[in-house]
Each structure stands twice: as C-alpha cells, then as structure tokens.
Amino acid sequence: MQAAVTELPEPQLRALADHYDAAVAAKRRRLALGGVILIAAIAAAAWMGEVDPKKFAENFWRFPSYFISITPKLSLATLWADLADWFWGIKRWTGLLLDTILIAYVGTLLGALAGFALCFLASANLVRSRTLVFVTRRFLEFCRTVPDIVFALLFVLAFGLGPLPGVLAIAIHTAGALGKLFAEVVENIDDKPLEGVASSGGDWFEMVRFAVVPQVLSNFVSYALLRFEINVRGAAVMGFVGAGGIGQDLIEAVRKFYYSDVSAILLLIIVTVMMIDYFTEGVRRRLIGQERR
C-alpha cells in the first residue's frame, strides 16, 4: 500500500508547500483585516450608542427584578382566586387582542391586494416600459422602508385615534413588502405559459390571468400568511401611538407600573402570536410543501 503513494521530488514538493503556506497566510491576513475592521466598527458604534458597561452592571439587577416584580403571586391554596385576580381584565384584553388580530388581518388583506395589483407592474418580464418598472419599484420601496408605526403616527393625526390609522399603516407597509416579494416570484416564473397565451392571441390581462397567476398563487398566499404573522406582532404595538389594539393597554400598564397587568397582557400576546405562528406554518407547509418536496 505504502508504495502506491508517489513521493514527489524535493524541489517540487517545496514549491507546493510554499504555495500552500502562502495561500493560508493570505487567508489569515484577510481574516485579520476583517477582524480589525469589525472591531473598529464595534468601537465606533459603542461610542455612538453610548454603551456604558458600568451603567449596565449597576442597573442590570433591575432586569431580572422587573420580571420578578411582574410575576404574579400565585399560591397553590388559592390558585383559582389568584388566577382570576391576575387576569381580572381578561374580557377586555381578549376583546382588544381580537381587535389587534383583526387590524393585522384587514391591513394584511388590503396590503396584499395592493401588492398583488402592483407586483405585475414591477416585474421586468411582463412590462416592457423600464420607466414603469422603475417607478413602481421605487414606490414599493418607499412603502416598506418607512416603518409602519411612522405611518401610524402620521395617520393618527389625519384620521384621529382608533384602529383606522393602524389598519392603513399596516396596509401600506404590507403593500410595499409583499409587492417586492411577489414581483420576485413573478420574475422567476416559467416563460412557456406566457408565450402560449400570447401566441393564442391573449392580451396583457389575459396573459397575467391565465399564464402568471396560476403559477404564482400558492407562493403569494404563503408570503401573505407570513406577513400576517409579522403584522400581528406589529399591530400589538400600534396602540403605543394611539392606533388601536392591545398595545394601548400594555403601554399604559408599563407606564403606570401595574406590574401584574403587564405580565398578563404580555403572556396573552405571546400565546396569541405563538398560536398564529403555529396555524400559519401548518397552512404554509400544505401550500408549498407538495411542490418543494
């Protein structure tokens, strides 16, 4: 067995070994340079962000102690009474949570419809006019770059307090986010059905309806469900700026130090978000699972 390995002559071996060493050294240098840049960036950001380890160390005990103080006092003997006491506002809170979910739902649906309408205009394989594609893309980018809560702040001034600004803010943000994702899906479709419809004399709308939509619909629905999930989380804090939902009660409880209310509302939000995650994940798996696997 040993004889099967060819021994290279010394000079050739040396050249190869040197080459290897040089390659390793070059890689190490690159890594070191990257590390130095990273550390410099961290230092700059820490200075900018007023990172203060001393303040952190001095105040860190407040973090666990906050969680301890929002933990309700439950004892086994009077468990039901304690639970009832903790969730005294359950009726109001579940109502507000339902509002939150509905804000997310209505906003997502409106936004998804807008994104659906706009994504075809943003797809370079469907629209010949470069300007139209460019303008639509920038518009979608604007919609998703401005955070939804900023839109909510503006809309609260325009439409007054209540769920309406929240719904509109979520709808606009969703239109931007989904419009982009949808357009990417549309640009990746198979061209053949398009050619088929075009060659049998279909106009642009027929092309979209019969060649594009059937290919992309399941992907669209899956993305929209994912957005709904994200929007439920977003809607939970819309109340911070007065745009409806459970957030209003949460921020009030936090600001007024109603400790057990904070934990009760947070727990409700977490459970709701988890349930929605679980549900949408199941539906999404069924929607795209068959194709991908």
């Binding site: 900023v150 209540g162 309406l164």
Partner: protein, 288 residues
Amino acid sequence: MSTARRTLSFGDESGIAARFPEQFRPNWINRAKLIGGLTLAAAIFVFGLIRLEIPFDRLFGGIGRLIEFLGLMLPPDPGSWQLAQVYLHAMGETLAIAFLGTLGGALLAFPVSFLAARNVLRIRPLQLLTRRLLDAVRGIDTLIWALIWVGVVGLGPFAGILAVMCSDFGNFGKLFSEAFEAADEKPSEGVKATGGSHVHGVRFGMLPQVVPILASQVLYFFESNTRSATIIGIVGAGGIGLQLAEQIRVLEWQKVSFLILMILVTVAAIDWISSKLRFAIIGRKAVG
C-alpha cells in the same frame, strides 16, 4: 388580428371539448374549496370592518388632510445647520443600535442555537424547552423590549441596543438552529469515521457548512434592524425615531420629511453595502 386568431382557435370548441372532456368538466370539489375559502376570507374582512368600527366618514377628510400635510412637507428642510447635525447624530445612534444589537443578538444566540438544534445536542426535552423559550422571546416585539430596557438602564440608545439584542436573540436562535438542522450530515459522518467524536463532527463537519449561511443571515438582519431601529426612539430608546416622533407631534412637517428622506437614504445605503457583502460571503446563487 388577435381576436381573429382567438376566434379561429375556438372555432372547433365543441370538437375540442369532446376530445378532452376532463379539461372542460368543472371540478366541483376544488371549486367549492376555493369559493368557500374566499367567502371565509371576505367574511372575516367584513367582520373586522364592523368590529373595528372603521369610520368611513373620516376616511375622505383624513385623505384630504394627508394631502395637505404632504403639501406642507415640501421642500424637506431641517431648519438649520445645528439641527441637521443633531439629526445626523441621531441617525448615527440608530446605526449603532442596529449594528451592536444585531451583533450582540447573534453572539448570544450562537451557543443557544446548539441547544435548539435537533442534530447537535440530542436531548429532546432540553431542545424543545429552548425552542419554546426562543419563541417566547421572539413573540415580544422590539418596541416592547425597548420599553422594558428603558426602565432598566434609562433613556438613550443603550436601551435600544439591548432591546434589539433581545429580540434578535430569539430570531437568530431559531434561524441558526434551523440552519444546523438543514446541514448535510455526510461531512460530520466522515469526521466520525476517521475517529472524531460528536463534538469534532459538529466542529469540523457541520460548522464550516453553516457559518457562511449564518453570516448572511446576520447581515440580512442588520439591514432589517436598521429599519426597525429607526422607530425604537418612539418609546425613548434613542436614535432618529425620537426626533421623528417629536417633529410629527409638533407638526413641523418640513423637518418630518427631511428625517424620512434621511432614513430612506441611509437604509438604501446599508442595503447596498450589506447585499454586496452578503454576495461576497455566500456567492450569488445561494442567498438563503
């Protein structure tokens, strides 16, 4: 021309229908499912509109007011050079929050994601527990974390960094452990076949596969956190959001539009840089 072609192709409609009957027979089950689904979606929508008591009468007045605001926003103007400097500083704070928050969250999540991955640490109950913990952390919005941290370390960007760190901890923990689970088993089997332990298998078989994926996810989150860090100031956790919320509340529309423009430009720049880096790390194709 096109109508003519279409008429021509449908000239023998009955003949085509006779030859391909299954294509022309409506599939009632699928149709019922579709109609049922659409009706349900529409019903929930209508229920939502009624329950939320959407004031349609305010809709048009509001749109009018929005257009009025839009008019007042032009041209974007920071007011003075001093204020522009303040805003630039706030933008820097926002970037610092996003950068350190993402990095810290990733560093915290990395060890924990080993616990949450099914194929790394094979203690099922511990893994499920870690998963649920990560889910709970993720279920709380960054803004809520910011609220909590403002209570702990006081107002300012430091609270924002800690808040972004916390919510990213949950996100990264989940994503990282999923990346571990999706990794190819063969390299670690190879390491074990040459006499390595399970730890060696993870270190030399699995990590080299997933590190580029993790790096690209971290960069992607840096991008999206730049967006979310712009609003964290609304609850007092530093950055540009504080200025933005303030200027919106005092109706300084030209300053508002200036701030929004600044956010748009910065986010676009970060997007560009990080997508360049992402492609350099992971190659153009496999961006996950």
